[in-house]
Subunit: 292 residues, 2 copies
Amino acid sequence: MDNVKSIGFIGLGVMGKSMAKNLMKKGFSVNAYTRTKSKAEDLIEEGCTWCESATEAAEKADVIITMLGFPSEVKEIYFGEEGLLNNAREGSILIDMSTSSPTLAKEIAEAADKHQMTALDAPVSGGDIGAREARLTIMVGGNEEAYNKALPVFQAMGTNVVLQGGPGMGQYTKMVNQIAIATNMIGVSEAISYADKAGLNPNLVLKSIGGGAAGSWSLSNLAPRMIAGDYEPGFYIKHFVKDMTIALESAEELGLDTPGLKLAKGMYEELVTRGFEDAGTQALIKLYVDQA
Amino acid sequence: MDNVKSIGFIGLGVMGKSMAKNLMKKGFSVNAYTRTKSKAEDLIEEGCTWCESATEAAEKADVIITMLGFPSEVKEIYFGEEGLLNNAREGSILIDMSTSSPTLAKEIAEAADKHQMTALDAPVSGGDIGAREARLTIMVGGNEEAYNKALPVFQAMGTNVVLQGGPGMGQYTKMVNQIAIATNMIGVSEAISYADKAGLNPNLVLKSIGGGAAGSWSLSNLAPRMIAGDYEPGFYIKHFVKDMTIALESAEELGLDTPGLKLAKGMYEELVTRGFEDAGTQALIKLYVDQA
């Protein structure tokens, strides 16, 4: 295969759309499909080729990127009758950039081999701002040769691109990321609610503790929102619960007991029960504020 | 009271000794007492005045600093018959820089008032390196006038000095710090042990996740030691358990349920049971590594 020129892009949510735009900016031709065509309108205006199905997007492309919500959707778009494995060209590189199950990523890679394709798993972090500014972290698993071919594609969307190992290793790395975040969110919430109960000025407390051993991205970026009562989503609780569900299943498959992750998942599920699924993850503080 | 010239310093452990040295460097005369005189030998060589008791150290000083291990020791040194409240000069400023109970700090401040003294609580973070390099964070609670008088003393030992409020507020702030650390240590340990179980190279994973939303001081500084199997103490598990015990009691007094802190405290107590009390806090990873 020569240099990648044509990309199929499936899934144009907040993240996917920004990523597709950045690919177009770098000169890739983008064949886009998403379930709700209206979501693609501005992308079509900017010159992408609209496709009526995932199959059509796949047929025209050297590299096919999927950016979907749930593992069940990933499974359908790869393994379904109308799916990529049955319809993409031989030699295609299929890249799932959704946050999805490591085990499913391995299954896709295996199936792709049988269809003379190559699959990479390449979930991202950096949020909507990282996607817009082409500053995503991209954690890649899969075949090294395919990774090298796809590297200019990744570099059009992100700044920190690392091949973490073979199939599934990108998804495993993303799970490591989510596991580290999950329990720390509890610590940040307990710290801020304790400060509040003690009669401290929590913002002044951050001046004392933010730069030291208690410091974290969440403490710097989300604690001020907790203090301000600002629950606008940077990262949705419903998506975090999905990720923690995958992470916990995966940890169990690996024979690892993770009490912190279990606690965090249970607390966030409680927030969903209370109607906070569309709030940002910093709304965890609600469970503490509303204890009294 | 004029400018502070003479300081009584009680408690010359790893932290206390470095702090006393920095006070001497800045021209304060230091009257030192600690239970084991041999610990003070190099300080005596450098020109501190050795005192045979806490009382003697207190009698000569404008400001008396205590840097002790446990709240029980703090209680004895302040309230005991030979203690500071019964023996320091009227007008003295008593500063407890130990990490201790916020409630005890309030009791000391109240008792000091009755003795025509002023007490400040001023615990620190920054560890042995921060103490040595006079770069401690100092979280102060108490009377503002006394704080202002003592400020040159604090500035001889630390760079981030903040008056957090009235009596006890320094200790409350330190507890906020420890609470934030406690649960994050679980997240870091679970992240690293999951990475390891998944067959990832954990150091390479840190390259992907260290600078983003999963990032924290503990992930940057302690995860590499976990990965290397290096359990040398930066901060002793036995001291962390002491701090979490104070924090949990304090949270309960405030009517706040802190499941993350409870989980962390239980896990660290399990490590003590397994003989790791003198290891660094990063040894929490042992509970995960040794699951199999």
